[in-house]
Amino acid sequence: MKKIINQPNAVVSELLAGMAKAYPELKHIENLEVISRKEKSKKVGIVSGGGSGHEPAHAGYVGKGMLDAAVAGNVFSSPSPDRIIKGIEEANSGEGVLLIIKNYSGDIMNFSMAKEMAEMDDIRVESVIVKDDVAVPDSTYSTGRRGIAGTVFVHKIAGAKAESGACLEEVKAAAEKAIANIRSMGMAMSACILPAVGKPGFELCENEIEIGMGIHGEPGVERTSIKTAAETADILLSKILADYDYSGSEVALLINGLGATPLMELYIVNNEAEKILSSKGIKIYKTFVGNYMTALEMSGCSITLMKLDKELKELLDAPCNTPALKI
């Protein structure tokens, strides 16, 4: 295992400490592994979080116009309720707190438990659940769709709405609207190694890729041979467009890298994605290309679309200032 780390068990606290040192406007609450804004203002607080290993998510989105606190679990493991409660407390200025949860049963259970416990302390808490990954069938029976890179758009929309002075219900409604309009689909070309495990959870042969791979290395929907950038963009977008009708609409587009894929390749994918969307009459309002929601050193990428209306455009364009996204 080639990683620049110290103790595998210490990676989370050390990475957050290193982050807080790089961004003096953030503070790291040790042991509870919460990153929050030092400067507070009276507004609805936004909290997100989840397992570590997705850097810059989630702590990289803490800052003006996005999150007020991010709560980190161990690598790929949901944070425990006590950590989340601390995040809620940090984010609360009396106007209530919105939790942005990705649809993994671990996250849902831990965030719900924290929500119940914070409510017992008279903090108003609401939550939304992001489930943008069209690789997984939508289902009320099972846990259903995973939340992946589209979560970054939800952070942006909810954060901008909160910054505008909206109340908790309005912020939640904006986040729900974003979630309803977001779809993502990804593919991976290589596995990643959990620091505490030391070896990859699966192997892909040279020339093999996995379509629909999750951001924790959960298996995808199909193993196939390596494709060109044009084919890759087509496969991912076709799945998305078959699931949700974006035709004739304006969208925000995110080409997300999983960690080890060079920006060069993400830009090439963007070049192809733009061609496909244009040919279908879908107008790209704003494009984001980069490593926004990663899976350690996995290589591969995902594509996310969010359909925009006037409100979502304004919220997307609103200024934000965080380590990983500045507008």
Binding site: G73, N74, S78, S80, P81, D82, N110, S142, L194, V197
Partner: protein
């Protein structure tokens, strides 16, 4: 008179369960790598290590506080899915021990049943979803059945243990509805659920520990 466990005895069991889990690291990790993200053993093992460190504190408490404390430690140390589920289970079980100084046969059954209910509620899951519930649920059903039938404690403990172990084995044939295995195209069929296996380790160790004291 039947068995009686004090909070000190329960702490003693914790030590044995920790050892049982510690021994099976590679096996459980392999199970979670096959159907999930490979961290189940390292999470739960870390939780039990912390519990063992806390034993001096735990054994000095009454049962109610001891169970609540175990729940809080498991919740915060294990993290992930199983941390919050065990946390909820122990906090749920603490409630049935509110005014009890010892755990007797009926209490033990009540404890396991309270744990089952808390886990099912927290995880929004049912038996047959290929989770830890599939070891705990048959154990609880068996326990209630044995008491209803008036079986001896020795017989009861042995049957409950078998029910938990068989329940864990039965997950191999199940399709996952909860947990990470449900993202697999074959829903994990053919693989044991790691959480059910570690649940069965705990029930097995507990039943054996009590039986050895009869």
């Amino acid at each position: 008179m039947g068995f009686q466990l004090s909070s000190k005895d329960y702490a003693e069991y914790i030590k044995l369960a920790a050892a049982k889990i510690h021994e099976n690291g590679d096996y459980v990790t392999a199970l979670d790598s096959a159907t999930g993200d490979g961290d189940h053993w390292s999470n739960i093992n870390m939780g039990f290590e912390k519990l063992v460190e806390a034993i001096p504190e735990l054994e000095a408490m009454n049962l109610f506080d001891e169970f609540k404390k175990i729940g809080m430690i498991m919740m915060s140390v294990i993290g992930g899915s199983s941390g919050v589920l065990y946390g909820s289970a122990y906090i749920g079980a603490a409630k049935v021990l509110k005014n009890r100084d010892i755990i007797e046969n009926q209490d033990m059954c009540n404890i396991l049943e309270a744990m089952l209910e808390a886990i099912m509620a927290r995880g929004n899951a049912q038996p047959g979803f290929k989770t830890m519930i599939d070891s705990l649920h048959p154990a609880v059903e068996c326990y209630k059945d044995c008491i209803a039938k008036g079986l001896s404690e020795k017989k009861t403990l042995s049957l409950v243990k078998s029910a938990a172990v068989d329940g864990a084995q039965s997950t191999a044939a199940m399709e996952a509805v909860r947990g990470r295995a449900c993202y697999q195209s074959n829903k994990g069929i053919g693989h044991l659920d790691p959480g059910a296996v570690t649940m069965s380790y705990q029930i097995e160790t507990l039943m054996d520990y009590i039986a050895a004291r009869l």
